[in-house]
């Protein structure tokens, strides 16, 4: 801990207001999502607690029929928006984290193998990545989502929808990881310490995992932060298009889609609050990621 407080990273953090503000927002949003049960006034995922009479209550105004007041108003089903956003954030964050982990695992593995082994395996993996890059990643995600939905039997579709979402986002975001890791691997594998490792008879696999992997990971951290923001936006986009999580367990994207239906009839808050939350979160992660990239890149120092 003391070593961390004395590090260059922490020093640069202390003198960067953008990094501090975005970090505080990220931590705040993550904490509220984790402790949603304790903070949220009611549970929006429990249909029994919903009262349709509460529908379309504007923020901070008493409902005409029930007299209840809601911090951010309610949606068409009478769900408290504030609680729904907290619970929805939880789903968005979970999908985002898992999708990034999947993309990172896949991308780092493929990039490492492509860079270290080379030859036709390298060409195959990287041409595949090139082809995937020519499609917008949201399109790839929708394709994977559609195929997975088609393969799964109808009775498990509902339970598996979040897993399918994670897979489709994860599989559509691995390319930047693979490219970066392949590039650093090509540099590392020519260094003399790799020859030294070969000279004591280590296998290719041991050299890859023990020597090269730890040396190519620092740019991965930066890409992971930026991909995390992308994954959350991708999840929101998919949900907005109606192919994401089911409406009974709305994520931020689902809420924005619901809100969009009512925007022009004057119920602005259903769209506004989820959209602002998504904006604040994605922007903070991106700004934090940019700061991290600048700090960890020795060429910019």
């Amino acid at each position: 801990m003391r070593r961390f407080l004395q590090s260059d990273l922490f020093y640069s953090f202390r003198y960067s207001p953008v990094a501090i503000v975005s970090f505080v927002i990220i931590v705040f949003i993550i904490l509220t999502a984790i402790f949603a049960d304790l903070i949220a006034p009611n549970n929006p995922f429990d249909p029994a607690s919903l009262n349709l009479m509460n529908g379309f209550t504007p923020p901070m105004q008493a409902n005409d029929f029930t007299g209840e007041t809601f911090l951010m108003g309610t949606d068409d089903q009478g769900r408290d928006l504030f609680s729904t956003i907290l619970y929805g954030l939880r789903i968005s964050l979970f999908v985002g984290v898992m999708a990034v982990m999947l993309a990172m695992l896949l991308g780092v593995m493929l990039g490492l193998v492509a860079g270290f082994v080379g030859g036709w395996i390298d060409s195959f993996i990287m041409r595949f990545a090139d082809i995937q890059m020519t499609f917008p990643s949201i399109l790839v995600a929708m394709l994977i989502y559609g195929v997975a939905k088609g393969i799964l039997p109808p009775e498990v579709r509902y339970e598996m929808s979040i897993a399918v979402l994670i897979m489709s986002i994860g599989l559509s975001e691995w390319v930047p990881f693979a490219r970066t890791v392949r590039g650093s691997t090509l540099v590392e594998k020519e260094k003399e310490y790799i020859i030294a490792a070969k000279m004591v008879g280590l296998s290719r696999y041991q050299i890859m995992i023990r020597h090269i992997l730890p040396n190519v990971l620092s740019p991965v951290l930066v890409i992971a932060t930026i991909t995390f923001a992308l994954a959350i936006i991708a999840e929101a986009t998919l949900s907005f298009l109606g192919v994401g999580v089911p409406t009974t367990k709305p994520s931020l994207g689902t809420l924005i889609r619901i809100g969009q239906d009512f925007l022009f009839s004057g119920e602005w808050w259903i769209l506004f609050f989820p959209a602002v939350t998504l904006l604040a979160f994605a922007l903070s992660i991106n700004l934090f990621g940019d700061w991290l990239r600048d700090t960890l890149n020795p060429k910019l120092k």
């Binding site: 310490y193 020859i195 030294a196 000279m199 008879g201 280590l202 040396n215």
Partner: protein, 273 residues
Amino acid sequence: MSYVTASGLTRQYDLSDPWFIRMITGRKANVLTAVNQVSFSIEKGTTYALVGESGSGKSTIAKMLAGVLAPSQGSVQIDGHDFNNPRLDNANKKMLRQRVQMVFQSPYASLNPRWKIGDILLEPINAFNLIEDKATRQKRVIELLEQVGMSAHDQTKYPHEFSGGQRQRISIARALACHPELIICDEPTSALDVSVQAQVLNLLKDLQQENGLTYLFISHDLAVISTMANKIGVLKDGELVEEGETSGLLANPQHAYTKMLLAAAPDIGAYIS
């Protein structure tokens, strides 16, 4: 029989375009010969130096002797064994690997920056299963560090905490860790200050006397070579153009290229006197 025998060592690199492109454009195949028919031998306990300018194939020869690069033609025999002998089984290959170690040119790229010095020195010991007992292994690491003039508490540090000369000492300690008989020194001092160079060279000399090591010493610095080598081979464009005992070759060079190299070496003595 000499300890190391290289006979007809050749290494070619295929730099031509893929055959498909060649078929369309009609370009010829382009093969670069980095090392061409080089033969030499090293007696046990002596130092053989290869000298030559950049691109003359010195490092390629070093890699072929180290067993990390296969020769296109010819062979290397180390104590009667050949890395590229298809009949060499794994146990013998391991034994052969243990006998040959290398000290590299760049003190910055030759140590894994994410590993502690202790782990770097333990790697060869563990790879060859030399010491079973953990406490003895620790003792051996300390012994190695002291052998190259470093102290025991350096084992918990990372490579970036050391200077170039110190890193080169660690590199030497790593090479010594598995009790090798042949050490290939690929320009071990060319990245160091002159004063540090002398220390590292003296260390290498002392270690040779104590352990009866055989050195293949690669350098482009004739002053360094004259203090280290028993025998010198001069490389030019991948070919061995001249070979001889150190004193004889430096006093009476035969080949035009050797004469040129000697003439090109800066002689500071002339300015002092």
